[in-house]
Amino acid sequence: MPYSEMMVRPMREELTSAGVKELRTAADVDAFMAEKTGTALLVVNSVCGCAAGMARPGIRLALQNERRPDRVATVFAGQDLEATARARGYLADVPPSSPSIAFFKDGELVYFIPRHRIEGRDAHAVASDLTAVFNENCPVPATA
């Protein structure tokens, strides 16, 4: 059963305020995943502080990296059920996990951080894993 939206809003905003696009419907997810070129990060957000409380600040830190994904979006597990189910459909061989973080390159899943790789770690450790993936897969942004 979903939590009160009032309680969840700050958890949504912790990502959206860092430029992460929130996908609230299955159509939103399909539109996000339809773009196959470049790099994309899809975050499965969740309420539980045991892991999500470290995942969100870790993602925020990682998105300050010079190299970062072309597109970044999130679905909220346990809240936006349809969107989350559709997102998991794009991760068909991966067991459901929340929070979790999927990185796609040219439409292919190339890296996945499941919940158990976030639990017990701090935000800097999560960010370090992500920036390593960004540095390996994302181009240096063009300068003006």
């Binding site: 700050p10 958890m11 912790e14 502080g49 045991c50 409380g53 061989d93 158990h116 976030i118």
Partner: protein, 90 residues
């Protein structure tokens, strides 16, 4: 920020591997460890040798991406438990 849970043990919310004195080994999200046993959510169980995989083969595979749950909740009696490990540390 997130939700926090009072009165639970240090493994609360952590995905753990619970080995037993029998052929079964369990992976699930720990709710608590009490005098009654280990309380898990979203649990998968593997039996040694199932699908040609030993317990450790199964754990190594689980450590990569996680597990597909077979049970929403499960309690493993303490007398059967031989070890509890964090999946994220494997």
């Amino acid at each position: 920020m997130g939700t926090f849970h009072q009165g639970k043990g240090e493994l609360h919310g952590i995905t753990v591997v619970v080995d037993t004195d029998g052929p079964e080994i369990f992976v699930g999200r720990c709710d608590d460890v009490t005098d009654r046993g280990v309380f898990l959510h979203d649990v998968d169980v593997h039996s040694d040798g199932e699908n040609g995989r030993s317990k450790e083969d199964y754990v190594k595979r689980a450590a990569q991406l996680g597990v597909w749950k077979k049970y929403d909740h499960l309690v493993i009696p303490n007398e059967r438990v031989t070890s509890i490990r964090r999946l994220g540390e494997i």
